[in-house]
Symmetry: C2
């Protein structure tokens, strides 16, 4: 999936070296071993560990102009509620050639906040690589995490030179394995509310409905269905609360379907029960095999 005809970034700065940031670092290090990869974080010993693990070539706990002298591509892999403020702070000390993107699961709330900071907005193109897992920490970093995964890019609406910046961000994600898909922030958030945020909520509510005393009688179906409910609650709070409207709509869609299914069962309309299950099955098996 590499664009072998294009040169890669000379310097990639990753803010937040967790599962996603660490996997981006791993993908870059594996594919472009001469590129400089700087990790930014608050915890110097954690950064050092990630460097010792071969994920980073440089580390920093501070945002200084020196970091951005060579006009790097900056990927902000922080929890979604921290992304916009980081972009504002980074843009404040960065060089003109610096381009900032992110990996956050929500887009509109970030774009809305940045709209109040035109200088920062001018250096930013939002992204969302759709990859991850219920685990967190760079210890689970995977150089192939993005291989064949879709990465949504949100082209800015109102800035000069946007095309060049969008191209640069798209090229970056393609070079580490992604299939790039441009989308508006609002469309992204509405779709992701259904494809990612709703499954998390359904997994969590299914877990809570079962009750601790019944866990010994769960099997592999329960395990699969509820696996992502083990994800970090604070990170997910930030995602869901920064995409409130679309998430509420997604819950309403699911509640309506659940209620229709219940009515079919209650009315002993067993053919309808089967048809509703079959509709879901048809859709699920249309996904490419894992």
């Amino acid at each position: 999936m590499e664009d072998s005809g294009d040169s890669f970034e000379q310097h990639v700065v990753i803010a937040g070296v967790g599962l996603i940031g660490g996997s981006i670092a791993a993908a870059v290090r594996q594919r472009f071993p001469t590129a400089k990869v700087t990790g930014i974080g608050r915890d110097v010993s954690k950064l050092q560990q990630a460097r010792d693990a071969g994920l980073l070539t440089h580390t920093s706990c501070d945002l200084t102009p020196a970091l951005f002298e060579d006009g790097p591509l900056v990927v902000v892999c922080l929890p979604v509620h921290l992304i916009a403020d980081f972009v504002i702070s980074a843009a404040d000390v960065s060089s003109p050639r610096t381009l900032i993107t992110d990996a956050g699961s929500v887009k509109a709330s970030i774009c809305k906040r940045l709209a109040q900071f035109p200088d920062a907005a001018a250096q930013f193109v939002g992204s969302h690589p759709i990859a991850g897992g219920e685990q967190s920490g760079f210890e689970f970093a995977d150089a192939d995490l993005f291989e064949g995964r879709t990465c949504v890019i949100v082209p800015p609406e109102s800035h000069l030179k946007a095309a060049e910046r969008v191209d640069r961000v798209e090229r970056f994600w393609r070079q580490i394995g992604c299939i790039v898909m441009p989308m508006s922030a609002e469309d992204h958030d509405r779709v992701l509310a259904l494809t990612s945020h709703l499954p998390h909520i359904m997994a969590a509510m299914t877990t809570s409905a079962v009750g601790a005393e019944n866990l010994p009688l769960t099997g592999s179906g329960f395990r699969d269905t509820t696996r992502i409910a083990a994800g970090n609650a604070a990170l997910w709070r930030a995602i869901l609360c920064n995409n409130r409207g679309p998430v509420i709509s997604a819950i309403d869609s699911a509640s309506k379907l659940l209620s229709e299914f219940r009515e079919a069962l209650q009315a002993e309309d067993d053919s309808l029960v089967e048809r509703l299950l079959q509709d879901a099955r048809t859709q699920r098996i249309s996904l490419p095999q894992e």
Copy 2:
């Protein structure tokens, strides 16, 4: 997990050689290679294939007294709506030493129907090994499917010699790897409605809520959460419609939780959102690691 002090069944008859029946056969063949394992089914070529695959030593498409001459243990692995009638037919031609059990995901509806056929009921002890997958067919049979899994046994309430029959069934499941748990049919059905039937419905409704056009923007979270929605719709219709009351109650529990979660989001009570996610997370991570 084997009870090495106890001798194993000389002859195990398996009615319905799919994923579960095939895995029981595989477990018996691997652990007790001298035991006779007869597969019963409608499709002679499929039975022959299962025999060629080493799962069965004998096959039959008919229920004849000769099958039961040596007083085998019969395990009925048919779809749940067919189990009671099969038990009645088998008991009708079986020898007194024959003991019949099953692997169905519902228990009360089976016991209720058998209560009208005391001769059949006297030869039957219901079971439910909590193991399986979204795939079907003996091709996916796994000799270790039951290793460490809970198997619920439903001791009959009103028959003489029940203790001896219950012991025999318990020993069988332990010998192929299960941890046995006795339970009433009603308790089993109420708990399984939550731990197994509800997750299936939630997975199906999550899939349907997403919409086919949005599938390219799904990730691993969606895949895990909806995996079991790929299960056979007719089999699941039979399970859900034969456990109607408890399943409706389970849906109501989940709907209530979903509605509370929606209200917390709507009211911008973000601490409550996090607490509800954290409650689910705490419960999910309390499950032993896979």
